[in-house]
Each structure stands twice: as structure tokens, then as C-alpha cells.
Symmetry: C2
Subunit: 388 residues, 2 copies
């Protein structure tokens, strides 16, 4: 096991009816910016529960945070924070609203020349302070409710970039599984595969003798497979929704990634497919991961075999046959929840591949992945494997 630091101070309030606790969770007298997306929270009753709990607070609303939240949009939220002397942000939504609110929280107190550098100069500058955030999660998927990660898109340049800071971790996150009851099927499916691939990014690398992390990762994968099919069959079963929700949170809260190598090439490549074609984040991951498993089958051999055995019970055949069967099972799982895994399924052809390679080269990306050996040329080969 490698040395690590694990720190996750998010207070998780989990279960039905927990939204009512907001009035106690938010500091008395706070000036709140209530951030949300396109208004689905007004249809599913969450908005009413939240505003009822906030009746004794001064609340400014900031709606319209879109999927893959735009820097241009978020900067309007930053202006509202300054104008209204906001001292607490309450994010009510899924990963995009949460990620966008984290950026607002950091940008509002940013002392550098331009808040864009939080994203564009991530490796050089660091977020040292941010407005406090509370979260009411409406979509299990990204894990943003219990981590310090944020991904933001600059619309004018099609740049989709990330930053992370412990200062933007939520003070609290309310997770009420009943929000799942009214989600569209595609959002549930995207959430299942998003959480699944978050685990894979931290697990399907190379072994470093870390059995707790490995078995926790496999626990989440198995739960997502079992509960994923159940929640798609009946999204109003409370326990199933709760298990799906808790699995998605545990998939990316720092725990399974502590002390082990991490990959994240699937996300890095997937972000470009979203930036160029607007393909849903979860869908892009299901396109890219099988390509990486195929190209890096030797590099990842020990963990693919372990994953195949423990998660899919694949124990027969030669190593090569088991790896093939394991990749096949993974693809079948994505397809079984309704997510297609080839570029052609989304109308994307080979011309996009060169654009993505050019983008990586222009940014000076030498190589990605847990061994730092996936070059821009390898990115092209991974995407070519997934053309159709």
C-alpha cells in the first residue's frame, strides 16, 4: 500500500425526510444562494421541501445551471454572491449543479487575476478558501456530494476542465433516496455507469497489496450491478434507491482510492467526447473504458483477472480467454442498463478522433493513465477500437 492522506469532513444526512433538517444544518442568519438547474426540483417536490425548511433564512435563487456547467453561467452566480453578500451556498441538484456551485464558491473568494485559472492552471494555483456549501442531492451518480472535485466547461472554447480542493467539500450533504422515484430512466442509467466507472478508475490498475481497498471497490461494483438492474425495473422501491444512492457516493469519496494507483484516462478522454459532441458523461465513459481495457489488457492483466473472478465469477479458461470474457461482461452490463458503447451509436466518426488527439497535443499532454503511458497516439487507438 502506498502512503496516503484521507480527509473527508462531509456530514452525510441520509434517508427519507432528511431535507427538513436543512434549517438546523445551515448556520443561523446565513445569506443563502440557492443554486439549481433547469427546474426539475420544482416538479418532484424537492424545491418545496427545501424552501419550507429555509423559511427563516434570506435566500437568493440562482437557477439555470446546465449539464456540464458552463463557466459563463457560473460567473453570473459569482456576481450574485458579491452583490448580495452571500455567505452560504445551498446546491440542490445532481453532479452538474454541485460541481458548478463548487466553482462559484471558490471563484467568489478568488484573489487571483481571473477565476478561470482555477481550472486552466490547476497544477500551479490552488484554491485556499471558498464559501461554505451545503448540498441536497437529486441524482446519484457523480459522487460530488462527498468530495472536493468539480468539472466545468468553458462554452466559448469547448474546454471541459477539472479542479479539486478540500475547501469546496460540502459542509453537509442531504441524501434522500426518494429523489430517485421521479428520475428519467436515462439519468438513472447514466448514474449507474458513472459510479461504476468511478470505481474502475481507482481499481482497474495494478495491484499494490491493498486488500481493503480492492474488496471495498468490488463491493461497490457488485452492489451497482445488483441494485442497478433493480432500480431500473422499479425506481420507486425505497431500499433499492437507497442502496444505489449510497453506492454512488462511496464510489468517489476518496476511500477506495486511498493508497492505490489511479487511472482516470477514461474520464480524461470521455470529457473530450462531451466537449465536442455533447454526449452524456456516463455514455462517454462506457464508450472509452472498453477500449482502454482492450488496449491495456497486458498492463492491467492482474486486476482484470481479479475483477473478472470476484465480480463476474469468471474462473474458467486461459488468462486471455478470461480477460476477453471479462471485457465482454463489462460491455454487456453497460448495454443491459441501456447505454451504448460504440462511437457510431452516437453518430460520431473517425474525424473526431484526430480532433481529440490534436487537443491533447496542443495542451502538451504527454501521457495519461495509472502508469503514465497512454500517449495521444494511444488515445486514438482506444477510440478506433470503439468506432463501431
Amino acid at each position: 500500500m502506498r502512503n496516503f492522506e484521507f480527509y473527508n469532513p462531509v456530514r452525510v444526512c441520509f434517508g427519507k425526510g432528511e431535507i427538513a433538517k436543512l434549517s438546523k444544518l445551515i448556520p443561523k442568519g446565513a445569506n443563502i444562494l440557492l443554486t439549481y438547474g433547469g427546474g426539475s426540483i420544482k416538479k418532484n417536490g424537492v424545491y418545496d421541501q427545501v424552501t419550507a425548511a429555509l423559511k427563516d433564512f434570506k435566500v437568493i435563487e440562482f437557477s439555470g445551471i446546465e449539464a456540464n456547467p458552463h463557466y459563463e453561467t457560473l460567473m453570473k452566480g459569482v456576481a450574485l454572491c458579491k452583490e448580495h453578500k452571500i455567505d452560504f451556498l445551498l446546491a440542490v441538484g445532481g453532479g452538474s449543479v454541485l460541481d458548478g456551485t463548487k466553482f462559484i464558491a471558490a471563484a467568489a473568494l478568488w484573489e487571483g487575476s481571473d477565476p478561470w485559472e482555477i481550472l486552466s492552471r490547476r497544477s500551479e494555483v490552488h484554491v485556499e478558501k471558498a464559501l461554505p456549501i451545503g448540498t441536497v442531492l437529486t441524482l446519484p451518480a457523480t459522487g460530488s456530494e462527498m468530495n472536493g472535485n468539480s468539472v466545468v466547461t468553458r462554452w466559448e472554447t469547448h474546454d471541459k476542465l477539472a479542479f479539486d480542493s478540500e475547501h469546496v467539500m460540502s459542509v453537509f450533504s442531504v441524501l434522500d433516496p426518494e429523489v430517485v422515484f421521479s428520475l428519467p430512466q436515462i439519468q438513472i442509467a447514466n448514474g449507474i455507469v458513472d459510479a461504476f466507472i468511478h470505481v474502475m478508475e481507482q481499481y482497474l490498475t495494478f495491484p499494490v497489496n491493498a486488500p481493503i481497498q480492492d474488496r471495498f471497490a468490488e463491493s461497490i461494483l457488485i452492489t451497482l450491478i445488483q441494485e442497478g438492474h433493480k432500480v431500473l425495473a422499479d425506481r420507486t422501491d425505497y431500499d433499492t434507491a437507497a442502496n444505489f444512492m449510497w453506492a454512488a457516493t462511496m464510489a468517489l469519496n476518496g476511500l477506495i482510492g486511498a493508497g492505490v494507483p489511479q487511472d482516470w484516462a477514461t474520464h480524461t478522454i470521455g470529457h473530450e467526447l462531451t466537449a465536442f459532441h455533447g454526449i452524456d458523461h456516463g455514455q462517454t465513459l462506457c464508450i472509452v473504458l472498453p477500449g482502454i481495457m482492450k488496449l491495456k489488457r497486458e498492463n492491467k492483466k492482474e486486476k482484470i483477472l481479479q475483477y473478472g473472478e470476484r465480480v463476474w465469477k469468471i474462473i474458467e479458461g486461459t488468462d486471455d480467454e478470461r480477460i476477453d470474457a471479462t471485457i465482454q461482461k463489462t460491455v454487456e452490463f453497460f448495454e443491459s442498463v441501456g447505454i451504448k458503447t460504440k462511437l457510431a451509436d452516437y453518430g460520431v466518426g473517425s474525424e473526431t478522433i484526430q480532433k481529440i488527439v490534436d487537443r491533447f497535443e496542443k495542451r502538451g499532454v504527454k501521457a495519461i493513465g495509472e502508469r503514465g503511458d497512454i500517449t495521444p497516439r494511444d488515445v486514438a487507438r482506444i477510440l478506433e477500437l470503439q468506432l463501431k
Copy 2:
């Protein structure tokens, strides 16, 4: 799954060499009370590493915190805090030092009439503030390094009582697996079974459809079995020590117990065996748990069968046969790491049983366990099953 709140803000710094980070982890200019036990940290090099890291701080030492820390001892630490205007406690030790330091931290700021009521009136009064604590763990076992629990013994009355508060959770905990290299065999064995039974208290109850919690619990049990035997065979293997250490921390940091029923009857009864006879905490647990599994085999049937199947691969036979085999495997595991499981092994006879029953009745304890159905009379039956 039940509703739950999960909050664990302890910053874990894990790995060899991490003790050197103390100088950055403790607030600049802090007046530190350095708490430790009988001096083993002076033999294994930890004391030297700690004092080297603290060279720029004002440090008052408070040594002599004994196993099952005594209220009488700890109150001397409280006096030191007041005398020297201590504003940071650094606990260097195992569970006893950590638990004792938590009590000092709470008692130093206690505004009630007598700090003993933190323990004696646990259900009525609450710790609302405490001095900040940092921890350097020297013995993987209790999980105290990543929770807010503390158990303290009042020597004059043989009362061993507990309290818990998020205010006494460590600000940081340094976990350097190399401390295991010099531990006596019995302390390693006690640590393995202590962590194992912490998991069992939160797992071997009744099912509430919480697959993440169940599988995480089983992950820790399997790891403790595999790594436990390895660390006893070679305590200087770094990776094995690291896996043992991380398993023990994960066993009692709130995660696997979130949203599920919990038992804790084994601990409640075991504490009395320590209070009356000074038997090591881990040893008392290995005596009591098999008795509870035998008496409550019907109540705990579904989880015993699941535990037997997933942890011990027991899948043959009738339910009764599988339960017998599972209890047998559990006892064999405790014995295999060198911990005896019968009262006679420790020279304890039936006269102690009545004393324990009397004690529970005198305290007004009606019933314990996850269903609240283990009466003082049942406690007697449990201990009678474990006489010899």
C-alpha cells in the same frame, strides 16, 4: 436501510515516515500536552520521532496512562491542562491512551459539577466542546484513532464506562504501520480480534437490505483473517502491517455501522470481565461473542448464515449445521491467533457470573443487543455457555 448521519472529519495520514508531518499538522504556537502510556514508545523509536517533529513547540508530557485508562489517572492530566494553559493534546499510543486523552480533552472544558458525569450520566449529558486532539497510533486495534468513542475505568468502583462525542474525534491521526514491527505477539493478537469483533457488533445482527455495509464488513473480516495470520507470522512485513492497521481503523469509524442495527452486547458484557478480573479487552470479546452466537442463533440466523457463506465459504448442510460450523470456525479463528475463548482459560468461575448479573441489575439495565432482548438473565446464560 435505516436513516443515518455519517460524519468523520479525522484527517488520516497513513504510511511510513508520516510522523514527521506532525510539525505541520499541529497549529503553530500550540501549547501541547503530550500523552502516552508506560514508555514503550521510548523503546520503539516513536517517542524520538515525535519529539523531533515537535522541537518548535512548547510541550508538557503526561505519561503513565494505563491499559483501561483510569479516571483517577486522567484527572491528573486534566489538572495539567489547566495549569499549563494547554490548547492541543497529542496522544501517542494505543486505544487506552487515545480513549484516555479524549476524556481529558472533554473534562478539561467541562462546565458541569463533576467530569465523571460525562461517563456516568452519558444518556443525559452531552459533551459540547473539547480541547483539540491529534493522534499518533502505536497499536492497531480499537479504531479510537478515527472515531469519537472513549472507554474509561473508575478504579475505586471497578466501573468501566463509555462515552462518545464528535468533539473528541482527532483533528488528525498519524498511522505509521512500522509501529507494528515491535509489538508483542499478544498485543497483535488482541488487536486482530478486537477489530474483528468491532465488525461483528455492527454486522451480525439482522438484515435490513444494506448490501454496501454488509460487503464492506465482510471485506474487513476477510482481510483481518488473511492478514492477521500473516502479521503474526512476520510482524515486520510492511504491507501486511499496513493492511492490518487500515482494517482495524475501518472496523470502527462509523462507516459499516451507518444505517444498520448494531449489537454491542459482547462489549458490554466483556467490559465487566475486564473490570472484575483485568482480562485483556480483546480476550473478553473472544469469550463472550461465541456465547452470544450460541444463545442468539435463531435471532441472528440470517446474518450468521450469510457470514458463514461469504467469510468462511460454509455452504453445505442444513441451516443448523451451517450455523454450528460457522460458530466453530469463529472460535477456531480466535484460538488460531492465540486467544482462548473460555472463562476457565482465564481462571474465572461461575461466581463471577452472578456478580456481573447483579451489576447490570443494580445499574437498571433491562436488556441489551440489537433487539434489546438480552436480559441480565440471558447474560448469565451466555457466560455459562462459555465456562469451560
